[in-house]
């Protein structure tokens, strides 16, 4: 049985997406780039169009966006406190981007950008930089570095840094950074593998649409939510006193 693991979509709705291309001797994964920008453009155009015509008696689209913004406003305020508003746009945008990236695969011919490991890795770099930079900004560099030597020794009321705990803390930070993108990628890619393998086993009868809905909509929504929540939690841990 010949199972292609990243199947070519049956048709390409848009031209110029013939797999990898070589510009400046770098490999570009064109579907990933294309669909990432497609989602970014969709989000930007829709939210800008709604923002330009805000009404007291909202339209359906405005109501939907207000629901999402309101939910994330509550979430960030409840876990980041009074600084929550500042991180609302960051967390909400990550959620919307990852969510649309995950569920866009249920449209025939569309490919999830998150199926490519590079997209979650890029998002991870963004999240880690934001978390650590805001940690340094809120607590100051001295206190930020001191966190890595916690818990230290207390000798006669003086705090002595513990040099043996620092490597563990640093490895813990690296582990957080590695597990964040691989969780998203593993879930989406594993779902894609299961869809392909089971569809071949069942000769595409009956089950594949339900698999698509389960792995695309259900798992995709949960993983997007988890990614945004973990981004927020890392930031909250970094800026907590």
């Amino acid at each position: 049985m010949d199972i292609n693991i990243t199947p070519e979509p049956p048709y390409r709705p848009f031209p110029g997406m013939e797999g990898e291309s070589d510009i400046l001797n770098l490999g570009f994964n064109m579907p990933t780039i294309f669909f990432s920008w497609f989602i970014i453009g969709l989000l930007a155009v829709v939210s800008f169009a709604v923002y330009r015509k805000l009404r007291a008696k909202p339209t359906r689209l405005q109501l939907l966006l207000e629901l999402i913004v309101d939910a994330f406003d509550n979430l960030t305020q409840s876990s980041l406190g009074k600084r929550g508003r500042k991180y609302l746009a960051f967390v909400g945008t990550i959620f919307l981007f990852v969510w649309l990236s995950n569920i866009i695969g249920i449209i025939p011919g569309f490919e999830e950008p998150t199926r490519d490991l590079n997209t979650p890795l890029g998002l991870m770099i963004l999240v880690i930089i934001v978390a650590h930079a805001s940690g340094i900004r809120v607590k100051g560099l001295r206190k930020y570095i001191r966190e890595y030597f916690e818990p230290g020794f207390k000798i006669k009321g003086r705090w002595i840094p513990n040099p043996f705990i620092a490597p563990l803390n640093i490895v813990g930070e690296i582990g957080k950074a590695i597990s964040l993108p691989f969780r998203l990628f593993g879930n989406i890619f594993g779902g894609a593998i299961i869809i392909v393998v089971l569809s071949h086993l069942l000769l595409f009868v009956g089950l594949p649409p339900f698999l698509m809905f389960f792995f695309g909509l259900f798992v995709g929504t949960i993983q997007a939510f988890v990614f945004a929540m973990l981004a927020m939690t890392y930031t909250a841990v970094a800026i907590a006193d």
Binding site: I5, L75, S179, F182, R183, G186, N187, F189, G190, I222, Q223, F225, V226, M229, L230, T233
Partner: protein
């Protein structure tokens, strides 16, 4: 000579698939038990305080996602064994 290389390739291939299966099978035990435990505890919590349902569900999902990491690592190892090695 050619037969030996073929045999070595076949053994490598078999070892890859067996290794991927073992990695995925054993790696799935921990997250399965752990996530089920978290979900059960969340159910208990919701039955005790139904008004806190949304907070409990949210916390449960994040905790499950973190405890899922080891399963995801084994999935990545299995994928590497099958497709990359």
């Amino acid at each position: 000579m050619a037969a030996e290389t073929e045999l070595a390739d076949a053994i490598t291939k078999a070892a890859q698939f067996i290794g991927a299966g073992i990695a995925m099978g054993f790696g799935a035990i921990g997250p399965g038990v752990g996530e089920g435990f978290a979900a059960g505890k969340a159910c208990e919590g919701i039955s005790r305080r139904p008004e806190e349902q949304s907070l409990i569900t949210r916390t449960m999902l994040v905790g499950q996602a973190v405890s899922e990491s080891t399963g995801i690592y084994s999935l990545v190892v299995a994928i590497l064994l099958i497709f990359v090695v």
